[in-house]
Every structure is written in structure tokens, then in C-alpha cells.
């Protein structure tokens, strides 16, 4: 159903398109939905055919989807088995109620699930707090430090009454969030150094940074992770071992940094030469010039590609499953290994996808807001 205001805008827009230069008031007929449809959807033979085709496809897909996903769906089961789902033609969302803990927390000890849950809530709460500009103060840094200590204590335990849980047992959403967040936070400064290095006048630094970026960008993340987990330990001395999770994190960080570096370099190149010259003429040394003049302007320009990379990094964490870590996607898959629920894998993957989407979409919206916030400097 089209709302009246939308209809008016649409009709006006349609009139504008048809006669851009004339100031003729649209005919009264155009103000009605029917008139709008006639002038926009059925105004020529090809358009009519396309409209009918689109209507047919919508009719074929949307009602069955609604029927499957909502009308005939099973939302809960009383006995803990999938029996009720088998009898219905709809989706089995009861899976969510029965398997959510395995999907969200993986193989973390079952009776300790409150710990990753609390840790995840703390991290999400801190992220939400960090978003508004008015909280960007020194205190926020201390709050993050405290939060990191508490989260580490909750996840690892081993002191103050919590039992020790090794990183190999961490899984699900906390693992995905942790890998993505730490990966992004560590990769970002590294990428800035790499981007600046690639533009350096010093041949050795330039060669190292360019070589690093081109090498890492040239291989798939899967192979970086694989090398980090399988090959890297071979080069370590006997008896020395580095945590599997840490190795995956390092792999993700190094990989993301190479891509981010190119986005940052794009921003650096967009800053007029005169900005650096003015900073030079005032006697600002290199790092101050970069920190105070060049980077603030360059990074603001490249918020979209940077966030693009953040989102990409968030989703790429699902690849750690190949080195035996149970991230959100792998944990969902593991939850579906139960023969009772195996037929409902589609629902399982949809649930996992929705969780990924919520986080990625939040990042995307936040970046748009941030762009508007930081654009004030150029306002006329």
C-alpha cells in the first residue's frame, strides 16, 4: 500500500523526469496511485512486460517465503526434540531455542557459559559507549583498559575463583568478536605505518613496505592462517609453542593491515601537496606533520574503504575454522551435527547470517554517521 505522501513525491518526481524544463503543474490524474503506476510502470510495451514479469516473480517467491518462514514455522518445541518440526512444512526456528548456547559459545564448558556471555555483553556495551563523540575522552581509554582486563579474566579464568579455560575451548560469538576487534585494532596502526612507509623517500623503507603489502595481498587469508598454524610452529625451537588463537590473530592482523594500508595510502594521496609544504614551512617534524595535519584529513576521506575492510575482516574471521578454532559459523555448524536437528541446517545458517549481518550493518551505519560528524571542518 502506497502512503499518500510517498505518492505525491513519486508523482512529482515522475513529472520532473518527464518534463524537466517546464513548470507545468502535474495533471490531477498523476496524483493518484493508479496514474502513477500508469505513467511509471505501464508507459510502454517493454515496461509493461517487465512490470508483469516482476509481479509474477514476486508472486512466486514472496508468499512461499512468508509461509515457510513465518506462517508455518515452528517457534518452539516442548520436548526438546525436533519432532514438531518434522510434522510442519515451515521453518524450524525452534532450533534457535534448543541450540543457541552451542551456536553462540561453541565448545566452551557448558556450565560456564555465563562467562563468555557476560564478556560479550561487556564488549558490546563498551562499543556502544565508544560510539558517540561526546564520550571520546581520556576516561574512555581507562574504561577500555578495565574492560579488557575483566573480559580476559572472564574468558581465561584461573584466578579469583574462576576455573581455567584454555583458548582452544573458546568459541562462537565471543571468538568471532574478539578476533575481529583485536584484528582491526591492531591492524589499523600497522596499516598507517605501512602506507606512510610505502610513500617514504627512503628506498629501503619503501621497498620493505611495498614488498610486504604486495606479498600479503597476493595470497589468500586461508593460506596465511594455514601457514601461521601449521608451518610457523615448525620453525620454533623445541618446547616453545605459541597459542593457536594468538597465531590466528596475528595472521588476521597482518593480512588485514596489508589491505587497509592501501586504503590509507589512497587517502594520503588525496591530500594536496600544499598541506605538507605548509606544515614543513612551519617547522613541524615528520611525525607531528603526519599526526596533526595529513592523517586527520586523509583518514576522514577514506572512512568508507576502511570500514569496508573492517567488515571484510569481521566476516573473514570465519576462516579460522580451518585451523581448528570454533568461531560463530563453525560453532553453528557443530550445533547442526546433532542428527536430530541436522535437517534444519538452512535455519541454522540463516540465524548465523543474521548475527553477522547485525554487526556488519551496525558498522556500516556507524561509519556513515561518523563521516557526517567529521565533515564539519569542510562545511561552508
Amino acid at each position: 500500500m502506497i502512503k499518500p505522501e510517498d505518492d505525491i513525491h513519486a508523482a512529482t518526481a515522475a513529472a520532473d523526469v518527464e518534463e524537466p524544463s517546464s513548470a507545468v503543474v502535474p495533471a490531477p490524474a498523476l496524483w493518484k496511485p493508479l496514474g502513477w503506476a500508469k505513467s511509471n510502470l505501464f508507459d510502454s510495451v517493454p515496461n509493461t512486460i517487465l512490470t508483469l514479469l516482476a509481479l509474477f516473480l514476486l508472486w512466486e517467491t514472496v508468499p512461499p517465503l512468508i509461509g515457510w518462514g513465518l506462517l508455518h514455522a515452528t517457534w518452539s518445541v516442548a520436548d526438546g526434540t525436533a519432532g514438531a518440526c518434522r510434522d510442519s512444512a515451515g521453518a524450524c526456528w525452534a532450533l534457535m531455542g534448543e541450540k543457541n548456547r552451542l551456536m553462540l559459545f561453541g565448545v566452551y564448558p557448558y556450565d560456564q557459559h555465563w562467562r563468555p556471555l557476560l564478556a560479550t555483553c561487556i564488549v558490546i556495551a563498551m562499543l556502544a559507549t565508544s560510539a558517540p563523540r561526546r564520550f571520546w575522552r581520556r576516561e574512555l581509554g581507562y574504561a577500555w583498559l578495565a574492560a579488557i582486563v575483566v573480559v580476559a579474566w572472564l574468558m581465561w579464568g584461573g584466578v579469583l575463583g574462576l576455573s581455567y579455560v584454555e583458548t582452544g575451548l573458546w568459541g562462537g560469538l565471543p571468538l568471532t568478536l574478539g578476533l575481529a576487534l583485536l584484528g582491526i585494532v591492531l591492524a589499523f596502526p600497522l596499516s598507517i605505518v605501512l602506507a606512510l612507509g610505502r610513500r617514504s623517500n627512503l628506498p629501503a623503507i619503501k621497498a620493505i613496505c611495498t614488498g610486504y603489502i604486495e606479498l600479503v595481498r597476493g595470497v589468500p587469508l586461508v593460506s596465511v592462517l594455514f601457514m601461521a598454524s601449521v608451518m610457523f610452529p615448525l620453525f620454533l625451537p623445541e618446547g616453545v609453542s605459541i597459542d593457536k588463537l594468538l597465531r590466528a590473530l596475528v595472521g588476521i592482523t597482518l593480512f588485514t593491515a596489508a589491505y587497509l594500508a592501501e586504503a590509507v595510502r589512497g587517502g594520503l594521496q588525496a591530500i594536496p601537496r600544499g598541506q605538507e609544504e605548509a606544515a614543513d614551512a612551519l617547522g613541524l617534524p615528520y611525525w607531528r606533520k603526519m599526526r596533526l595535519i595529513v592523517l586527520p584529513q586523509a583518514l576522514r576521506l577514506v572512512i568508507p574503504p576502511i570500514v569496508n575492510q573492517f567488515i571484510s575482516c569481521f566476516k573473514d574471521t570465519s576462516l579460522v575454522t580451518i585451523v581448528g578454532l570454533y568461531d560463530l559459523l563453525a560453532a553453528s555448524k557443530a550445533a547442526l551435527a546433532d542428527p536430530e536437528w541436522r535437517p534444519y541446517f538452512v535455519e541454522g545458517y540463516i540465524i548465523a547470517a543474521v548475527i553477522y549481518w547485525v554487526f556488519c550493518f551496525s558498522m556500516s551505519r556507524y561509519s556513515q554517521w561518523l563521516e557526517r560528524q567529521l565533515a564539519t571542518g569542510h562545511r561552508r
Binding site: G274, E277, A278, D280, A281, G283, L284, R379
Partner: protein
């Protein structure tokens, strides 16, 4: 005006690749002296002035500022830049900072002046260039003439003893040229050592102690303004003056 030169260029040579931009350039500027450099575009005048604070490197010859020789020594370059202010044709204000922040940035980060003191000085300078009411605005909200006056104030905030002007009025609309020149004339009256690349001959007549004419990378003529304008020695100078004053 004391006799010791504060800026000295001795047989300076510069190439861009195979292109010889500066050929045997010699120039000596005394404390308090005002030098106006003019010449056709591509004559190397901007390049020369940019060599004085090492925005460009010269390949041969010597450049001395306050008796410090410019070379690869970063400390020497930084010391010279602290004492040599520069104003650009395209203003080059920092668009992400307010006018006030543009003025306080270098004093606080290079000379470690306390914030309150730097802001006091910045406000004094904005009074001097007659735009104290724009302190909280961003450069993008100002007119070209106002931006260039902010740029002059920004350079003065470092309390330099020498000021370089690289075609400061060339990018301005005609009605804004005067407000910038007035500030420069005032500055000249206060005894600042100035090297200006400009085509504003009225300004040159009013403030210059020495006129320099450059063409094809060479200093063709160097003379006091009375002589330079009434009785130029070189045909090339005469031709150039005829072209720009004829209009």
C-alpha cells in the same frame, strides 16, 4: 638595516631532471631588507624562494640563512624553518582546524608554547590582520582574502625574523588583493625582512628596497626600485615591465 646578510644565495643551481631551473643565482638579503622578485612564469622565481626554506633542494652552490648553511642536516633545516615564515599562493590553511587552531598549532607543537599563551598571541595576530571575529570558524568558511590574511598570521605566530611570500595575491579575486597587500605593507613598515615573489608593482614601489628580475632561471637585473622602474638596464626587463605595467 644592518649590513650582515641574513639570507645569502651563492651560485645556486637546480635541475628538475634535465631541466635547468636555477642558473648561477646569487642573492643577498640584509636584515630588514625588502626584496621583491618578479619575472615571467617559469622563470624560477618561486623555485628560488622555496629553496630558501628547503621546500626545494638545490643541487649546487650554497644557501645560508642566519649564517646556517642549508644542506642535508635536518636539525639545520628545522632551525631555519622556525625562523622563516612562508605565505603561499594557495593559502594552504589546514581545513580541518579552526582559524585559531591554525595559528596555535605550530607554536604549541614546535616551540612548546603553553596553550593559553599561544592563543593570546594568535588573537593579537588576528587583530593585526583585522579578522579577530573569525577565530572560531573553519578556513572553508572564509573568503580568499581572509584566508590569506589568516595564512600570514599563521606564519607570524612562529615569530619569524624573515618572511617569504610566494605570489600571495595571485589566487585572489581583484577586490581582495588590497586587503592582503595592506597587511603586507604594514608588516614591511614594522621592519620585517621580506622576500616577495609578486607581480603587484604598486606594492613593489611602495615597500621594496631591492627589485630582482628573473627570466629563464637567471637573475637578469637587480636594482633599487627607482632605478629598476625608470631606467632598467636590460632589454628583457624593459620588455617585461612594458607588458605588465602597460595593462
Amino acid at each position: 638595516m644592518s649590513d650582515a646578510p641574513v639570507v645569502e644565495l651563492i651560485d645556486v643551481q637546480k635541475w628538475y631532471g634535465a631541466f635547468h631551473v636555477l642558473k648561477d643565482v646569487n642573492l643577498s638579503v640584509k636584515k630588514g631588507e625588502k626584496v621583491v622578485v618578479c619575472g615571467p612564469s617559469g622563470s624560477g622565481k618561486s623555485t628560488m624562494i622555496r629553496c630558501v626554506n628547503r621546500l626545494e633542494e638545490h643541487q649546487a652552490g650554497r644557501i645560508l640563512v642566519n649564517n646556517i648553511e642549508l644542506g642535508d642536516d635536518l636539525k639545520a633545516i628545522e632551525a631555519i624553518r622556525k625562523d622563516v615564515g612562508m605565505v603561499f599562493q594557495s593559502f594552504n590553511l589546514f581545513p580541518h582546524l579552526t582559524v585559531l587552531q591554525n595559528l596555535t598549532l605550530a607554536p604549541t607543537w614546535v616551540k612548546h608554547v603553553p596553550k593559553a599563551e599561544a592563543e593570546d598571541l594568535a588573537m593579537q595576530l588576528l587583530e593585526r590582520v583585522r579578522i579577530p571575529d573569525q577565530a572560531k570558524k573553519f578556513p572553508g568558511q572564509l573568503s580568499g582574502g581572509q584566508q590569506q590574511r589568516v595564512a600570514i598570521a599563521r606564519a607570524l605566530a612562529m615569530k619569524p625574523s624573515i618572511m617569504l611570500f610566494d605570489e600571495p595575491t595571485s589566487a585572489l579575486d581583484p577586490e581582495m588583493v588590497k586587503e592582503v597587500l595592506d597587511v603586507m605593507i604594514e608588516l614591511a613598515g614594522e621592519g620585517m625582512t621580506m622576500i616577495c615573489v609578486t607581480h603587484e608593482m604598486g606594492f613593489a614601489r611602495a615597500v621594496a628596497d631591492t627589485m630582482v628580475f628573473m627570466a629563464e632561471g637567471r637573475v637578469i637585473e637587480m636594482a633599487p626600485p627607482e632605478q629598476f622602474f625608470s631606467d632598467p638596464k636590460s632589454d628583457r626587463t624593459r620588455q617585461f615591465l612594458g607588458q605588465i605595467i602597460g595593462h
